[in-house]
Symmetry: C2
Subunit: 409 residues, 2 copies
């Protein structure tokens, strides 16, 4: 008897979450054991509001549309940031979820997301076990932050890293043209994990030694040392280019930020503007020309320069999830294990979702130099394969030809 899949996307965007969705669809369409693939619109929150679409009808037999989906940034199905209520405290969320699971005759529940979304996977699979409902629940990883446990690296990260390295190289060319002292500060996403800011190191290509300084949240940030570091660099070169993570903090754990008061519903502090703050600090303490650039959301949505490695891996993680549920696996997340760096080889596995949910993987301190202003070769070797390869994007009227749900936006 054929089974039905329900798939959703959740959390913040990357450029390859749709590649994972395309992987799910491709594997499902190629399987004799899958009937219909339903999509939750706006994740588990939209699902509870009965926002469901028939993805089989939407994509089956439409190769071109599926190919556009594979390279379209963000989430085709929309997203949510919703933490399911713990059924022990309030069973209403879970009752509603399973009411709809029964309604749509769902056998396989796939959820693409980060560590918060894996909490949803974990809760749904645990509840199914408790009530003895036969459904297989598998998470598919995604996050630009590369902070998930039990996976070599996360899909979405390599593309963001490629965008960051490329943009920094291009800003270096922009900066080096004037014969005057200047400092460029590039603020890069990453709340508690510095992987994205660290990937700026991949902009070093021989002639370009920048970023000349890299500051990560895994190492305490000292403002006086920061100014001393820049002054030391200005003795060696006219232009100093600095990469900073948005999550840098002092030794007391206080974020370096113009304003850092708001928190989101998972309790994460929402940061903004340490670049602007450090810009004014350099202005005041050194007085040379200084500029700060915040890469902002561009680093997570610039699909026109996605890493081909990343897109391919995201696709395979989607396929693997279908394979896993058909093999009776549940309460797991598909993952990547690195076999070797040269040649770069990975295998696709599954790992217990409880080891991933609500946890964060940060950069090992030994991959950061003792001074806390640069990274080591081990980290470069780890990062390099992840940004390799370019995606072929079709352009229409001069801009990328992406795909979107049939709604006006």
């Amino acid at each position: 008897m054929k089974g039905n899949i329900l798939v959703g996307q959740s959390g913040g965007p990357t450029t390859v979450i749709n590649a994972s969705l395309a992987g799910v669809l491709s594997a499902a369409f190629n399987s004799e054991n899958i009937d219909t693939v339903y999509g939750m619109v706006n994740g588990i929150q939209g699902f509870m509001d009965n926002q469901v679409m028939d993805l089989t009808k939407e994509f089956k037999g439409k190769e071109k549309k599926l190919e556009h989906l594979r390279v379209t940034p963000s989430m085709y199905l929309g997203s949510c940031r919703y933490k399911l209520k713990d059924p022990a405290q309030d069973p209403s969320d879970m009752a509603r979820v399973f009411e709809l699971i029964k309604k749509y005759k769902i056998d396989y529940f796939l959820y693409i997301g980060g560590n918060d979304s894996m909490d949803t996977v974990n809760k749904v699979s645990k509840y199914a076990q408790e009530i003895g409902y036969d459904i297989k629940v598998i998470g598919i990883p995604k996050t630009i932050d590369n902070d998930l446990m039990e996976i070599d690296h996360t899909p979405g990260f390599g593309s963001a890293a490629k965008y960051i390295a490329t943009s920094i190289l291009e800003m270096c060319h922009d900066t080096y043209i004037y014969y005057l002292e200047s400092v460029l500060i590039v603020e890069i996403m990453g709340r508690n994990a510095g992987w994205l800011a660290a990937s700026s190191v991949l902009a070093r290509n021989g002639y370009n030694k920048a970023p000349h300084l890299i500051y990560l949240p895994e190492s305490d940030f000292d403002q006086d040392q920061f100014i001393a570091d820049i002054q030391a660099q200005l003795k060696k070169r006219k232009q100093v280019i600095v990469a900073v993570s948005e999550g840098i903090h002092d030794k007391n754990g206080e974020y370096i930020s113009a304003k850092s008061t708001k928190t989101d519903q998972f309790g994460h502090i929402m940061l903004s503007g340490n670049g602007k703050y450090l810009e004014s600090l350099v202005q005041e303490k050194i007085g040379c020309k200084v500029r700060s650039v915040e890469l902002n959301v561009l680093q997570r949505c610039a699909a026109h320069i996605s890493s081909a490695t990343d897109v391919s891996e995201a696709f395979h993680l989607g396929e693997k999830a279908v394979d896993a549920v058909l093999n009776g696996r549940s309460d797991e997340m598909t993952a990547i294990r690195r076999i070797s760096n040269e040649p770069y080889t990975v295998e696709y596995i599954t790992v217990p979702v409880s080891k991933v949910a609500n946890k964060e993987k940060t950069i090992p301190r030994e991959w950061i130099n003792p001074e806390g202003n640069d990274v080591t070769q081990e980290l470069v070797d780890y990062l390099q394969p992840l940004i390799e390869g370019e995606v072929k994007i079709e352009y229409k009227n001069g801009i990328p030809n992406y795909t979107f749900r049939d709604v006006e936006v």
Copy 2:
């Protein structure tokens, strides 16, 4: 007898200034009338400091390097922002320039730049005429701002426009995923001319109607109307995406900006942060989720997504300059005249540099809607051909393989 060329680059970067340099080199290498091409390092300012390099030695017979130069952003030769002293007041600058012109036996002086740089071209050629020195002086246009007179559009603009339209489309995908009201404000370069901010309109592709509002410096900006415009949009859609030029100002000419005090040496006010200001205004007056993104220098240096049309035109304008000096032209700028839109056809001409220097071309008011919050179809038709075509970039280790002078940076 063969002549020598001196070529320089000046002003702010674009992604295709090196394509014009490549055009100069290509035409010079293919001509039997050119001996050596010298490059000024850091423009006219570096030249007066005798910073000169032999570009014939550097590039002749090196096809691959010349190809990399063609797609490398910013200025291979470095830049300057220097206004030559008026020789009537202080002849020291001009005396030094001509001392070095004689030293290097320069017959042809080519200068790639914007309206400030055309002032240099104008002064050098006028002074040569005054002292009866036989040198041909030609300007080659560049500026992302598209604000030069006597040219249909400027090289550099099309690539910046392509980057802006693509980035906005990608940020739209990023924004549309949540089912909650939100406003995204994208701040785009353009001091007095709104061409760049206007090019955001090219992100509209059928399913995407954003930017839903566009504000340009050619129309007075009213903060109350801005809030009313957003509120009206929020009645129609959940997410409102707004493009604003950095140069928007109120009816008294006051810039809308968090801080706008500094001026550069040409007297231009240096702006920063109207996006952040408008973000806090929306926060206060409407109270929904709001984010601002400043595209910053990325819009002028993201050569990996240059417009192929733009790169090709910049190259031809460089070639045309060599052709012009060999035909005895002087005190002119190479320029583009549009013949037709369908098919898009242009011709390369020369125009008097005095009609370009220190002047600015802004968007005709009739190409902006009466409400001052959108552009007309005429403007779209003008812009569309300029972003067409993609450049083939070679990648190495996952980032673009650009070229740079033999110095450590």
